[in-house]
Symmetry: C2
Subunit: 220 residues, 2 copies
């Protein structure tokens, strides 16, 4: 495997025409945004029109994994065309003195690439593990492993993290000079994604406590 | 304006091949998902490949509005092709006894349509107002209104809410019958999006308190 550059290279698709001041070019920024997310939005073209679907994902090094039913059209079409995967964190609503400068604080990563249908059984299992562990670290070792039939009914796509752009906006509004004198409140209303207390399955057998890795997740 | 059906009609694009048991067909479900969201993911085709970008939005009746710089490629290409707009709420991580049945609780809306570039000045202002008020209700009447030049530098797209699908998954995992006997914890870790306390702009003039509509937003 060739090592990818620590800097995200600029292509026609990833060069930011708008607000390029918000661009980050470090590969580590890309991984930070991906690792902090829970779901991505996968964009594919189906019958000539774009389709955007939310789905879980996982990352192993320079590869992003998504999965779905072997019958899902969006995954079946995947390997035949480039896809776009976007991960967005909304961090705040930016309240400005002028309506024009209202904005959002966010971190987002947009990845373009030709997905590869994972056929190697070991990589498929590793990809599924990455997807599960991304949502609930520690869960792979605890739950019942997939059967051969379950594995066959899942498709896993590997998307190279070669072509990507990262955009980050943080901080207060940027109003026009003359507007700072206005008698209008300005600032940021922060937005956070938080976990609640684990809610046991009503059908849970009595006497099974919340395991430490789930308690840790809920407290994070 | 013709009234749209209270039931979402099924088209080739919105018919759910997978997990159709999660589909909702009431128009009111669509509006509930849209009205509860903050950002959408807009999918367009640029140079033959899909592009998925996060952006704010607003809804007025049966029309969804998005905006951006007049120069933004994703908006410029919009009116020439169908777009896809997806709004997703992640509500929980579903921890099952088997890895295969791990899932997410979510509400999502996927809208397909040919956007219309809004040229009527009144509708443009109404669309921008809907987008602002969606993020911060009450803010439109407080902040400085857009100038003619600012209006000219913004494009507003109107997307009809005619062709859409809504999918909702809630509740505990659905494990295989024989797995309920396993000694494995199962349940849901809820996920919520919450607002934090308003953070004033460091450049805010002294003596301007947080206005009630912003305090209400933060407390919601």
């Amino acid at each position: 495997m060739t090592a990818l550059s620590p800097t995200l290279s600029s292509t026609g698709r990833t060069r930011l025409g708008r607000r390029s001041d918000r661009a980050r070019r470090d590969r580590s920024d890309l991984y930070d945004v991906l690792d902090a997310g829970l779901v991505c939005h996968l964009g594919v073209i189906v019958d000539g029109s774009p389709r955007v679907l939310p789905t879980g994902y996982g990352r192993l090094g320079d590869t992003l994994y998504v999965h779905g039913s072997s019958g899902a059209r969006s995954l079946r079409e995947g390997p035949a065309q480039d896809v776009c995967v976007t991960v967005t964190h909304l961090d705040g609503i930016v309240i400005a003195r002028s309506l024009y400068h209202h904005s959002l604080n966010y971190r987002s990563a947009v990845i373009y690439g030709r997905p590869r249908l994972v056929t190697d059984p070991d990589e498929k299992l590793a990809g599924l593990r990455a997807i599960t562990e991304h949502l609930a670290p520690g869960q792979w070792d605890v739950a019942r492993k997939p059967t051969r039939k379950e594995l066959a009914s899942s498709s896993v796509l590997a998307i190279p993290l070669e072509e990507a752009s990262v955009k980050i906006r943080q901080g207060p509004p940027g109003d026009d000079e003359e507007d700072y004198a206005l008698d209008v409140w300005a600032g940021v209303v922060p937005v956070h994604q938080v976990f609640g207390a684990p809610c046991p399955d009503p059908a849970l057998r009595p006497g099974i406590p919340v395991p430490p890795h789930i308690a840790r997740l809920a407290a994070s």
